[in-house]
């Protein structure tokens, strides 16, 4: 099922884009990522709405009252919060869903990229069985895995004076940090737990994705960078970027 509904459609879409873009696999990944982000746009917009509703709820009088009332009983506090969520029609997971949807896409894309760039017999045999007849990919194989200075099937390093610099991994860290900072919704002033959580996410997410970009195939890192930039552009187009979060002292 994973094979049929995730990997093969992604793989063949990538190969189709590859054929119409002059057999450039790097461009194919970029265009594919943009398409995915456009398809996910309604969910992204929903995430923004959910985040805003959550923010308003956490700054409401009722929220602050139950925090105060149940400050010594976490179980009662959780129950009261859940009740308030239901009353206000806010889903506490509404802003997490788009992030969760990303994971199968990341894994599926990685598998599709690795499969497309097969460079040994068994993976190549597997690739041959994953191709849709309409793609006519057998005449394209093996794919051109070179993009700029990178081999998209290998971890990326730009050689400068004999030193391998992981340029894409650095770009992933920077763009992920920018994305998380620019999109972070300011939490209520007295919600220390939420602020701490946001701070952790701002720190760990860029490092986590940066590690993946450093350790795995450059094609994945290219997806991360493109996806981050697309997200920032989408939020900018909606006028939802919080530029003030980049100022020193902001949380």
């Amino acid at each position: 099922m994973w094979e049929t509904y995730i990997i093969e459609p992604m793989l063949n879409t990538l190969l189709w884009i590859y054929t119409i873009l002059g057999q450039n696999f790097g461009l194919a990944i970029i265009v594919f990522t943009i398409l995915v982000r456009l398809i996910l746009y309604p969910i992204t917009a929903k995430q923004q709405e959910s985040g805003k509703a959550m923010q308003e709820l956490q700054q409401s009088k009722e929220w602050k009252e139950i925090q105060k009332k149940h400050k010594d009983d976490k179980e009662k506090l959780a129950a009261a919060q859940m009740k308030l969520y239901q009353e206000k029609g806010v889903s506490p997971f509404g802003s997490c869903l788009p992030s969760l949807i990303q994971f199968p896409i990341i894994i599926g894309l990685y598998q599709a990229v690795i499969r497309a760039l097969a460079d040994t017999p068994l993976p190549l045999l597997t690739l041959s069985k994953s191709l849709y007849p309409i793609i006519n990919a057998s005449k394209l194989i093996p794919l051109n895995s070179k993009f700029l200075w990178m081999d998209l099937g290998q971890p990326e390093r730009l050689q400068v004076l004999g030193i391998g610099i992981p340029v894409l991994a650095i770009l992933v860290v920077v763009t992920t940090y920018l994305q998380t900072k620019l999109m972070a919704i300011p939490t209520g002033g007295d919600n220390a737990q939420a602020a701490q959580m946001t701070g952790m996410m701002n720190l760990y997410m860029p490092l986590m994705l940066g590690y993946f970009a450093y350790a795995y195939a450059a094609g994945l890192a290219l997806y991360f960078v493109t996806s981050n930039l697309m997200t920032i552009i989408q939020y900018a187009a909606m006028g939802k970027l919080e530029w003030s979060n980049l100022l020193p002292g902001s949380k």
Partner: protein, 357 residues
């Protein structure tokens, strides 16, 4: 505790990506070679090369003696005219071994992965590499040409030598004819699909299959295409010939007998799975294997079934080899690495299963 969900997501994603990369799975199938006397089979698979007595299936030696995870071997070992065994590895090293002991004679660092076998003659060794280079070496592993021949994509196919001309197919879709003296190009013919097996040279014509789903006949002198016929899937292996027919299978799971003069179909067989390895013609019988793990023996003239043998576990991608009245097969992903099957009856004679350490 607050960090647990994030760490869990990180570990889950890292594990998923690691599994996706297939870094722990074999990347090819066993390579099988036989000495001219038919006494020893040399099997290259994963981290070792095995020398196996073909009469009994007993292990004679392994190279390296202890498996080294940094070294992997899949290219079929080659027994040279001067009595050495050549094995290429994914560690870029071509090693010459003493066939009796498995000890090293010399090594050559090819600079990139060795997927295909070298061609060994009485004077020279011609080695294709995944870096797109074809090296000409003397019998002690020293380069002969000023520079290797280079193609833009991988070279997985062993070359064929005839009258001072090397013929080699590339993953760059080209079939090349090279001067064996210096590696210069005599002609090159684009065939529209990747070539990962050696051509069959027969009476001045090269016969080969490509990933463009075709079998092609090419004039060996000038490189023009004489005929090409479509197949239903990629063709991975060298066609075999007997009595004016070509035998070749494809990954769609069809096995074809084609007339050599024009490629027209003499007969076709649809076995139980994709066909990756080359067939084998012995007398009036053609043997071929399928990914589903079956060794088929069929009548060479008409394609009628003679017998079939299925392995208990694993797939069959490795080319079957004839030896002393048996057919040797090397499953991938099973417990047994080598199985001898009686060529007349299809009954198993012995199997070699390496000790698990």
């Amino acid at each position: 505790m607050k960090r647990f969900p994030l760490i869990a997501v990180f570990l889950l994603l890292a594990l998923s990506l690691s599994a996706c990369s297939g870094s722990f799975a074999p990347t090819s199938w066993p390579g099988l070679g036989i000495d001219p006397a038919g006494e020893t089979a040399f099997l290259a698979y994963q981290n070792q090369v095995y020398a196996v007595d073909t009469a009994t299936g007993a292990l004679q030696w392994t190279y390296p003696a202890e498996a080294d995870r940094k070294r992997t071997f899949f290219a079929p070992p080659v027994y040279t005219p001067n009595g050495e065994v050549l094995v290429g590895g994914y560690d870029n090293i071509l090693v010459s071994l003493d066939p009796a002991l498995g000890t090293e004679n010399w090594i050559f660092d090819a600079g990139s992965r060795i997927v295909g076998s070298p061609l060994a003659t009485e004077d020279a060794i011609y080695l294709p590499t995944a870096g797109g280079n074809l090296y000409a070496l003397d019998l002690e592993g020293n380069p002969i040409w000023d520079a290797p021949f280079h193609s833009e994509k991988d070279l997985w196919a062993p070359p064929v030598l005839d009258n001072g001309v090397l013929y080699v197919g590339g993953m760059d879709h080209n079939l090349y004819a090279l001067n064996a003296s210096d590696g210069s190009i005599r002609w090159q013919t684009p065939l529209g699909g990747a070539i990962n097996s050696a051509p069959l040279l027969h009476e001045g014509v090269l016969y080969l299959g490509t990933f463009a789903q075709q079998v092609v006949a090419v004039d060996a002198e000038i490189g023009t295409i004489l005929w090409d016929v479509p197949t239903d899937g990629w063709v991975w292996a060298t066609p075999q010939t007997a009595s004016g027919l070509l035998y070749v299978g494809d990954v769609s799971g069809a096995f074809y007998a084609l007339k050599m003069e024009d490629g027209s179909l003499a007969w076709q067989s649809i076995p139980d799975g994709p066909i990756v390895s080359q067939g084998l013609v012995v007398g009036d019988t053609v043997y071929f294997t399928t990914e589903s793990g079956t060794l088929y023996a069929v009548d060479a003239a008409k394609g009628g079934p003679v017998w079939e043998y299925s392995v208990e576990k694993g797939e069959l991608y490795t080319a079957p080899q004839p030896i002393n009245g048996d057919i040797l097969i090397a499953p991938t992903g099973g417990d047994a690495l080598l199985i001898a099957v009686n060529a007349e009856t299809g009954a198993k004679r012995w199997q070699f299963t390496p000790e698990k350490k």
